[in-house]
Point group: C2
Chain length 374, copies 2
C-alpha cells in the first residue's frame, strides 16, 4: 500500500512518519520541505485559549494532541536521533490591562470547571517566575502541562525519521492531482508523475490550488500571514514560554535552550503576500517591549513571514474526501505544530484501513457543516 | 612614487582614486573593501547641523566638501562608468516638538548670517513637500543645495575607477605598519609585505590598532556604533532626504531612486560590538514612524550595524604624521562619506609633494591641540 503525500510541512512529514511506522510505503512530494509555515512557526504548545475552548470538539482534539505529544516526541527523537527542542515546563499567560485580567480570570474558571490544570498568579507571583516582567504585568495564569517545541528541529527530526524508515522524498512541485474515479497520485512540475494507492493533500494554503481537483472536494484554504521575529542572547533571557495579553491581542515569547527568543506573531489577511514589513516588525517589538522591556538588549537574529492555512471555519480538515483514496490534512490555521501528532496518528489509522478516531471525526472533510466540501 | 593605502572604505578608496588621477602608483590593502562603515552609511549630504557650525574650521571643511562634491561625483561617474546615486534635490529638516522648532529657527538665523541658503517652512509647507508627514510635524527647514549619495554605489564606482586607472587592490589584512625611520609599507596577515614610498592609514576605528606604530603617532580612534535600517517600496515613498528632529535627537530618512528608504541611525558607544539589537531596531522604527506613520507599510529589507571612527575630538585626522612618509586619513566620525572628496583631494595633494590645502590644515594629525598625536 503506497501513499503519496503532497506537502512536506509539519503535517505532511508527521503523517509520513506515522504511516511508515505502520508499515505503509510513503512518498512525500515538496520542492522545499519544512520551508513554509512550519519553518516560521514559534512552536508554542500553549494553554488552549478561550476561542479553542468555546469549541467542544476542537478542545477535545487539542487535549488529545497535548496528551499524545510527549510520547510522540520521545519516539521521534529516538528514531531520528535528533532533539526536537520539546519542553513541557509550562506556559505563562500574563495580563497587561484590566480586560486581560478579566479574560484570564474567566479562562481560569473555565479550566477549573473542565478539570484542566492552571494556576492563577498575582502580579508579584508572575515576577517571581520572571523578574524581567514589565511593571504593567497585572497578573497571570500558569499552565504547567504546556510548553513548546522547536519546529525547525521537529521537522528536521521528522525528515530524518522518514528517511530512516525508508520513505521517499521527491523535491519537486505538484501541479495536478491525478483523479480517474479515484485518486491515483500526482503530476510533477518537472514532468513526471508519482502514483500511489492513496493520496494525502497536506499543502497548507496551497492545497485547493492544486490542479485536477473536482470542484467542491477541497475547500478554499485561506492564507493568514504571520510575521515573526527571532532574537538571541548568550543565555536564555526568559525562563518559560510566555504570552502577553493586552487590548484584546496577544504576543507570545518562546525561549529556546540555546538563547533564541521567538516573538510572534502578526495576523494579517493579505492573500499570498509574505513581505516582512516595518509595521509588522514594529508591532512585534512594541508588544515584546510591553511585556519585557529589557528585550531591547537582545540581538536581532531573523524576521520572517509565512502563511497559516485557514479553512472556511478555521478548523482543520483531516481524513477522507468524497473522492476515493484522496485524503486531506490541512486547515490547521495556527495550531498545525500543536496538532501534528494527533493529525498524523489519525491519518495513519485511516491509511491503514481503519476509521477516523472519535476525537478527529468532527474534523472530517465530509463533516457537511457548510465548510464547502461535498 | 608608490603609495600604500591601508583601508578600502570610502576614504581610502577616494584617496586612492585621486592619487591615481595625479599619476601616482597606488596599492589599497583591505580584506573586504567597502564592507564596514561605508557599507552601512546612509550617504546623507546634509545641512550642516549646529554642532558642525559651532566649529569654524570644520564648517569651512564641510562647505569645501559640499562645493567639491558635484564635480567629484561627475568625474567619478565618467571614469568608472557607474552611477553613485548622487542627488542634490535638497534636505528637509522637520521639527516634531517645540524644542526642535526653536533649534531650526536658530539654525536658520545662523545660516542667513553666514550666507548659506536654507528656507524656513511652516508645517503646512512641509506637508506640501511631503503629504505623508505626521500631524506632529510643526515646521521645517529646507537646505536646497544638499542631498545624498548611495555609499554602496559610490564605493563600487571608486573601486572601478581605481581599477581603471591601474591601481592595485590587495585583499588581505594588514597586521603591521613597517617603520624604519620612515614608513616603508605594511606586513600582511598572509605573511607577505607591501612596500611603498608613502603609507596612508585609512582603517577607520581600527587604525590605531595596527601593529608597529610608535606610541602617540596615531591617536585612539573610538568606534561609535550605528545601527541602520533599510526599507523598500515599489515606488519611492519619500520625495527627498529628510531629517526628523525631536527630543534632542534626530532620525534621517534617505530615499533612493529605486525605492529603498534608509533609516538611520543609532549612536552607541559599545566598543567594537556590531550586534544589531531589538532596541536599535525599535528606536529606528519608532523615530521613523513619528515622522512618517505610513512607513509601517514598507517592506523590511535589511538592518545592519557598523562603527563610525571617532577621533579624540571627533574631528578628522588628515595629512602627515610625525613619522616620515606616514599619513593619516581617519577620524571622520559620521561625515566620512560627506568629506571623502575634500579629504581625498587633500591627501593626493600631499602625496604629490605639496602642502595641505588651507581648509584642511586645521585637521592635520600634527595640529597639536591635545588630540594625542605628537
Amino acid at each position: 500500500m503506497h501513499t503519496v503525500i503532497v506537502g512536506g510541512g509539519v503535517i505532511g512529514l508527521a503523517t509520513a512518519w506515522r504511516a511508515l511506522a505502520q508499515g505503509l510505503a510513503v512518498t512525500v512530494v515538496d520542492p522545499e520541505p519544512a520551508s513554509r509555515a512550519s519553518y516560521a512557526s514559534a512552536g508554542m504548545l500553549p494553554p488552549a485559549n478561550e476561542q479553542l475552548y468555546d469549541d467542544e470538539p476542537l478542545r477535545r482534539l487539542y487535549l488529545a494532541s497535548r496528551d499524545r505529544y510527549p510520547s510522540f516526541v520521545a519516539e521521534l527523537e529516538e528514531v531520528s536521533g535528533r532533539s526536537t527542542g520539546h519542553r513541557r515546563d509550562g506556559v505563562l499567560d500574563v495580563a497587561l490591562d484590566a480586560a486581560a485580567v478579566a479574560d484570564l480570570d474567566r479562562a481560569h474558571r473555565f479550566h477549573k470547571a473542565h478539570g484542566i490544570r492552571t494556576e492563577a498568579l498575582t502580579a508579584e507571583e508572575c515576577r517571581v517566575y520572571e523578574p524581567r516582567f514589565a511593571p504593567s504585568v497585572r497578573g497571570g495564569l500558569l499552565a504547567p502541562d504546556d510548553g513548546a517545541v522547536d519546529p525547525r528541529r521537529l521537522t528536521a527530526a521528522l525528515l530524518a525519521a522518514v528517511e530512516r524508515l525508508g520513505g521517499t522524498l521527491v523535491t519537486d512541485r505538484v501541479t495536478d492531482v491525478l483523479i480517474e474515479g479515484r485518486a491515483t497520485g500526482v503530476r510533477l512540475a518537472g514532468g513526471g508523475t508519482v502514483t500511489g494507492d492513496r493520496t494525502v493533500l497536506a499543502a497548507g494554503c496551497w492545497t485547493h490550488l492544486l490542479g485536477g481537483l473536482p470542484p467542491g472536494v477541497v475547500p478554499e484554504i485561506r492564507p493568514v500571514k504571520g510575521q515573526i521575529l527571532r532574537l538571541r542572547s548568550e543565555e536564555p533571557f526568559l525562563h518559560r514560554t510566555t504570552r502577553g495579553l493586552a487590548g484584546g491581542s496577544a504576543v507570545y515569547l518562546v525561549p529556546r535552550a540555546d538563547g533564541e527568543l521567538v516573538v510572534g506573531a502578526t495576523y494579517e489577511e493579505r492573500g499570498y503576500d509574505t513581505t516582512v514589513t516595518a509595521g509588522g516588525l514594529a508591532e512585534l517589538l512594541d508588544k515584546a517591549r510591553a511585556v519585557l522591556p529589557e528585550v531591547t538588549g537582545l540581538a536581532f537574529a531573523e524576521v520572517s513571514a509565512a502563511l497559516r492555512p485557514g479553512s472556511p471555519d478555521d478548523r482543520p480538515l483531516i481524513g477522507a474526501t468524497s473522492v476515493p483514496d484522496l485524503l486531506l490534512a490541512t486547515g490547521h490555521f495556527r495550531i498545525g505544530v500543536q496538532l501534528c501528532a494527533v493529525t498524523a496518528d489519525a491519518l495513519a489509522t485511516v491509511l491503514s484501513g481503519d476509521e477516523l478516531p472519535d476525537a478527529v471525526r468532527p474534523f472530517s472533510p465530509l463533516r457537511g457543516d457548510g465548510v464547502g466540501t461535498h
